[in-house]
Symmetry: C2
Subunit: 128 residues, 2 copies
DNA sequence: CTGCACAGGGAAAAATTTTTCCCCCTCCAT
DNA sequence: ATGGAGGGGGAAAAATTTTTCCCTGTGCAG
């Protein structure tokens, strides 16, 4: 486990929320589980461009944050499934809001990003 | 400017949204501007625990993403103010949703984080 | 016995973001 | 002519996150 050198500021609700869903692949993983792709192997298959190790790390974090929990079936061979906790379920609509905003504005955001036009608007003061 | 070696995936709305507001101090900066602390010096004062350089970098990013824009008054000495663009304003309610979820759940999230109880629930399959 | 699906993790490298340390400029008041 | 407010940025270090590589098991089918 990596040990932080600078303490996190977690008073701010937004910081907490982003900590939980801000990881690089968190959203995709959450989306898998939401679509009932619950088993590690299934998630690995769905996200084949991401290394299994990475997905496992993110799953562990989501678990540590209490967003998902693990069901280990006492079968042989063992079967594992991830399910949302109540708090985990409660973040889904929040993600939807974010997702919608992003989709509505992604062309704009990415355009601004490219153009990079620092032609900063210059104004005279009206109240001279 | 840092040049990415791994391309970003920006099809996903959520990735875009987090790219925009996910920076370490973005939320605080946005909150300043929302509270009409618009001038760099004012923001620096408000966020005195953060180095001015860092704030400037984040401001630049917000500007590049088209969330805020810069008004440079043709006064002497020059005065600068940051204002939200229309798209910038449209993200404020989104941030509120995130902030609310975070505040409602931060004790829970931080508790889970500490406990770290990987006592994974074990189940027998009901349908044996 | 070999190979494959399944679940998982240590260690180190690479990539990225954040931070520190200094530097530049202009104007204005002392 | 010195200092401070006000706006800004380069370069490198430090911190953090992401990635790669490789290794550990079990059980089951050929």
């Amino acid at each position: 486990m990596y040990e932080r050198k600078i303490p996190e500021l977690l008073d701010c609700g937004l910081a907490v929320a982003i900590k939980v869903i801000g990881g690089k692949w968190k959203a995709w993983i959450i989306d898998c589980i939401r679509r009932e792709i619950r088993r590690p192997s299934g998630i690995h298959k769905e996200m084949h461009e991401v290394a299994p190790r990475i997905i496992n790390l993110h799953l562990k974090e989501l678990e540590d944050h209490g967003i998902i929990f693990k069901k280990i079936y006492a079968e042989i061979p063992a079967r594992v499934e991830y399910w949302f906790t109540d708090v985990g379920s409660s973040i889904l609509p929040v993600i939807d809001v974010l997702e919608k905003w992003g989709n509505d504005n992604k062309e704009y955001i990415n355009r601004s990003h490219e153009n990079y036009q620092s032609e900063t608007c210059v104004f005279k003061r009206e109240t001279a």
